[in-house]
């Protein structure tokens, strides 16, 4: 420990070295995929350009736009309803509407494939009205995937828009009214333009989610880039073609990310200033109450209520038929073991990165942090593909071990964890650490007695987040798991692919139940009940 006059920490260089190494490892998969794609035979490129790529690009973009439009409509209208109108049950719906986030896309997809499928309950009900020849569009279609993804991701838009509605300075509305604008005019000319950054942030989360989703599109058999990458690896074992499609996918994701960044820069002045006053919620008329209740309950039931009830019902009958056995608990153990390992490794790796970037923001350290976010644009199958290729080239004896899977999780989910760890560290002002140093504590003692206790909550949140995402992860697990080493997510997908809906239910239900408290925990941090 350092009790001498010097105040300079003793370990900056070694810490930076660690950070650079970690970031190098994190970026390796992305670099490898790019390398494979760019060195591929021109014939493969032209074959793909003429056959698959136009269709895949169109499908992916169409799905992203469709879901963006759907979530925009649902998210903004619901956010407006719960933050500006008062009706019985409003408080309950306000938080219940985030619950769909707890259902992974592959679970919702398989439930809708049952609900809307041929001979399913919805079609049966429709045939009672329209006669036995009445048929509905199949869920295995553009419309079906768009519906499922919209219901699953609208809470992103809802949450950010709701926060924006609550944080918006009420004076803007009042002054607009004083200038003669009606309520509707105020909403469209003032409030929505002011909230555009929040809405766009929500939409960009949705789009990234959709573009990199594998679960729903694979179960509903809708050809997107992500699904095609997976098929190229498993069906044809063609890693070169897969890497080309992967590169394309990365570029698409990057375009969205850059566009969102650019938009945020453009609208930096959209800051709301002044004192905070809670907005008044206007009570609804009886008719308005009825409409608001029907709308909220409808969205909630479709996105969470009915799926959850179905899962419970199926799980009960699966338990009754003895499907929850020793093997099932084996899957639970596999999931929990892998996920906690991955989350722990990610927190340990993320700590020096976040610390250096917030404490010593040199160009190198900031670059390291930015580079760690590379995993964001690396959808599950792509990361898995890269790791497969790297491991089979460099360390074949590692192939098919759980270690590779843990690395895949860390690369993929560290960005999400960093987003929780970095602000936690930034909240601790350097003054606190300097005060501790001035009181005779060394670097290590300061870290232990001052910094760590203060950032603990942020780091726990990061751990929980990464644990849950690893737990739900599907494509990389499918591709990289050791033989016979199934997780809960894999079981859901395998059973659902074979349409064994009841057998898939216990695993799916367990994932949902474990996710709910974590979502509520993460929300409670910035949930302002105005």
């Amino acid at each position: 420990m350092n009790h001498t006059a010097t105040v300079k920490p003793a370990l900056p260089n070694s810490l930076s070295l660690v950070a650079v190494t970690v970031v190098g490892l994190l970026c390796l998969p992305l670099a490898y995929v790019t390398h494979m794609a760019l060195t591929a035979d021109a014939a493969i490129w032209s074959r793909l350009w003429t056959t698959r790529i136009p269709e895949l690009l169109f499908n992916t973009t169409a799905l992203a736009l469709g879901v963006a439009a759907g979530t925009l409509l649902l998210g903004v209208s619901l956010a407006w309803l719960v933050s500006r109108r008062e009706f019985p049950g409003r408080r309950i719906w306000e938080w219940a509407l985030v619950l769909p986030l707890a259902i992974p896309t592959y679970v919702l997809a398989y439930i809708y494939s049952h609900l809307l499928g041929a001979g399913g309950p919805v079609e049966s009900a429709w045939q009672m009205l329209a006669g036995p020849d009445g048929h509905l569009p199949s869920p295995h279609s553009y419309a079906g995937v768009t519906l499922v993804m919209t219901l699953d991701t609208f809470p992103f838009v809802y949450l950010l828009t709701r926060a924006a509605f609550l944080n918006l300075n009420v004076s803007y509305e009042e002054v607009a009214r004083a200038c003669g604008a009606s309520r509707t005019g105020t909403l469209f000319r003032i409030m929505l333009p002011l909230m555009r950054p929040a809405i766009v942030a929500g939409l960009s989360l949705v789009v990234l989610y959709v573009v990199s989703d594998f679960g729903a599109v694979s179960l509903l058999r809708y050809q997107t880039l992500t699904y095609a990458v997976y098929q190229q690896i498993t069906g044809r074992y063609d890693p070169t073609a897969a890497s080309i499609l992967s590169l394309l996918l990365v570029v698409v994701a990057l375009i969205f990310l850059v566009a969102e960044r650019w938009f945020r820069q453009q609208s930096r002045f959209f800051q709301t200033t002044g004192r905070y006053r809670a907005p008044a919620r206007r009570p609804c008329s009886p008719l308005g109450t009825a409409l608001a209740t029907i709308y909220t309950i409808g969205v909630f039931a479709a996105s969470f209520g009915i799926p959850a009830l179905l899962l419970i019902q199926w799980s009960l009958s699966a338990i009754a038929s003895g499907a929850v056995d020793v093997r099932f608990f084996g899957f639970v153990w596999n999931s929990a073991f892998l996920s906690s390992l991955a989350a722990t490794v990610a927190v340990l790796i993320g700590l020096p990165l976040a610390y250096l970037a917030s404490r010593r923001p040199s160009r190198l350290n900031l670059l390291c942090l930015q580079a760690a976010y590379a995993g964001y644009v690396l959808p599950g199958p792509v990361g898995a593909l890269a790791l497969l290729a790297i491991v089979s080239h460099l360390a074949p004896f590692w192939y098919g071990t759980a270690a590779v899977l843990v690395i895949a999780y860390v690369v993929h989910f560290l960005p999400a964890g960093l987003q929780s760890m970095e602000p936690a560290l930034q909240q601790v002002t350097p003054n606190l650490e300097e005060a501790s140093r001035s009181l005779g504590f060394g670097t290590a003692a300061t870290l232990r007695h001052v910094t760590l206790p203060l950032v603990r909550d942020g780091f726990i949140a990061a751990w929980v987040l990464m644990f849950l995402q690893s737990m739900k992860e599907l494509p990389a697990t499918l591709l990289l798991r050791p033989v016979g080493f199934d997780t809960l997510a894999v079981r859901v997908w395998l059973e659902a692919s074979e349409e064994y809906y009841q057998l898939a239910a216990p695993s799916a239900l367990l994932i949902v139940i474990m996710t709910i408290p974590a979502i509520l925990l993460l929300l409670s941090k910035d949930w302002r009940a105005a």
Partner: protein, 367 residues
Amino acid sequence: MPSHEPNQRSTNSSHDQHRPTVLELRHVSCVYGADRPAITDISFVAHEGEIVCLLGPSGCGKTTTLRAIAGFEPVTAGEIRLEGRLVSAPGDLVPTEQRRIGMVFQEYALFPHLRVQDNVAFGLQHLSAGERATQVRVMLEMVGLTDLAARYPHELSGGQQQRVALARALVQKPAVLLLDEPFSNLDPDMAGRMREDLHDLLRRTKTTAVLVTHDHDEAFAMADRIAVLNNGKLEQLDTPEAVYHTPSTPFVADFVGQADFIPGTIENGTVETEIGQFPNQAGYRSGAQVVVMIRPDDIHIVPAAKSFAHIVARQFHGSENLYTIGLPSGRVVHSSEPSTTVHPVGTPVELQVNATHTVLFDRNTHL
């Protein structure tokens, strides 16, 4: 001089009486939950071109009154009329946008996504584009912001932002302009200049205005008449001079400036106090217990070796010296002396009180 009863409504600024009434509050009350100050039985009128200040401490209901006029708060009793039209009554509320009011908020609330010119043009949607541009240009000229028309709000200083907010409100030619603590976000220097500019602008545009403030200097400088509010009640409505010199309650006396309250008793038709005799202006009966309100500028001190009072403290205020004088009873009074008159602390002094400026209150009902 006649004494003033509490709550008495005075319209003694005679030049207002033959101007049309623009705004009228009749026995207005607003009652809500615990978080918003209520107001009870507020009545006043504002004539055309008049500036009325609502003055009071925080939580006294002055902002609630303003928001009730704007139509943001429903009234639970009484009624509000704008240009003769009933706009607020219990269960009956004309929406803000149909009231022809202009409003300037404490934090200005300039729309951050609109340029200065578009902020000012916001309320002119009903006009043609050409007409709109003309009015915006004229208005910006009037507030001296022509050069900044294409800027965004965050590119302006506090004073400039305030002028944009004013322009945005005035360009609609509102029946009444409502201002909520418009100077509190400016530094004192700037606030002083903006006060003069605003007063001048309101006079030139002949705008009727209601201004909310907690600063009595601001109210004195701006207002034709001041309504002093406390605990949701109107304590006094009068010209600034009358509010200062003949406050109707001890609260008003204390709130609008430094005041000392000396207890006294009516004996032989005069008020007997520790510091001398005062005329019984209000005609209290013999033996009544009263207090005398005296302002520091009505007490003059002269050093006198054998006096019973002495200087306890001196505060230098630049243009004046404010002395605190200890009396034998332990009570203190204050005296304002010219800035060059300096006596050391401890000096025995004699008090000379200007008796025509004192105000009497009944000790039993007021204190």
